[in-house]
Symmetry: C2
Subunit: 217 residues, 2 copies
């Protein structure tokens, strides 16, 4: 599949590399084609990869990953172009973390709204699926690094789009039964508002390399 | 130990009953001594139990559980009396759920503050420990009903108070290694903001009888 990965930070580069390994044709999009992250990744990634602006990346893609920083996501997607996102599955991996008031960060949007919902509202023709934002980049693309079963969550308004994302997640190594569908895009409030607990757990555990398993009787 | 349980809903009654079974002397506190929940519980609970107003219950207690509805907690604790809480361990089990805007509920406080912090700020002499608010009443008092390991979280500013609560949690059936200390009371933001995810999980799983296990490598 032709996939655009928007954002050249650790999350974007880790996902893009995994997608290349899985045989996809990946274009990484950045605010500027001078981006250090973009140049580094292109240097490492090898064949079948390319880079460009957010709009360059989104234009030819069949599916788009939003891996930009949450506070920059709406601007980045606007730069990608509403027309370049229309009709496409848009996997939103971002968290709206606000570091402006120090540590730990707060959320720039929460409680009665979420970044996932704002993206869906701003780009109504995109088929937004919130996913993977509850784990760090290593766990996203290599869930087997943690022992036993643990879960990843998807939500969105388009059932077919969620099915496409589930397939990608299975290719990443997530067992089918570990992928929990939380319903429509409003459930993004739940997975984004989990971040403050995730950050406290990271502090208590001394590592970002963890995830949760849901236990039922 | 002489323990006050404030709040006569399902959580208060379930915790109070468990404490009686463990041999504690329990007084249940209610806004009014005419409360149906209070009368029902006293009818079921038998010896070594009593009921009264929030102030009656807190006055003689060595340790106090806040099991009132989150939106009513600050008023209930004010009615219990600042002097009756001073120096005592106050286990805050409440979640600040706001149902006034329909379902799913939002949080009445979150992001840069929490109910746990507000309680600690309003009653600076109380030794507040946030705990158990991430599971339903049955799991709180009978964690073994779920298969395998799963976690409960504590946070608060007083290490000795947290140690007392850990002992109670172990008596409830939580293995020592399943109790995760998230740090000071500010971590209550994390466990309270987990509620929107908990509510979506309840919808997806079709049951409130679940919990999460944290997986590390």
């Amino acid at each position: 599949m032709r996939i655009a990965v928007l954002g050249t930070g650790v999350v974007g580069r880790t996902i893009a590399t995994k997608l290349v390994q899985l045989g996809h044709e990946v274009t990484m999009g950045s605010r500027s084609t001078d981006s250090e992250g973009l140049r580094e990744w292109l240097g490492e990634a090898g064949e079948g990869t390319s880079g460009g602006t957010f709009a360059d990346a989104a234009a030819d893609a069949e599916l788009v990953f939003n891996c930009t920083a949450g506070e920059a996501s709406l601007d980045a997607l606007a730069a990608a172009g509403e027309g370049n996102l229309a009709g496409k599955v848009l996997v939103d991996v971002a968290n709206p973390l606000d570091f402006s008031r120090g540590m730990p960060p707060t959320l720039a949007v929460c409680n009665d709204d979420s970044l996932g919902e704002r993206i869906q509202a701003a780009f109504p023709q995109a088929r937004v699926v919130k996913a993977l934002n509850t784990v760090n980049a290593q766990v996203m693309t290599d869930p087997g690094r943690l022992p036993g079963a643990h879960n990843v969550f998807v939500c969105g308004n388009d059932a077919e789009a969620k099915a496409s994302v589930r397939e990608l997640l299975q290719a990443f190594g997530w067992p089918r039964e570990s992928i929990v569908d939380l319903g429509e895009i409003g459930a993004a409030r739940g997975t984004e508002m989990y971040l403050p607990l995730w950050l406290r757990l990271m502090g208590a555990l001394g590592t970002a390399d963890f995830n949760i398993q849901v236990r039922v009787p």
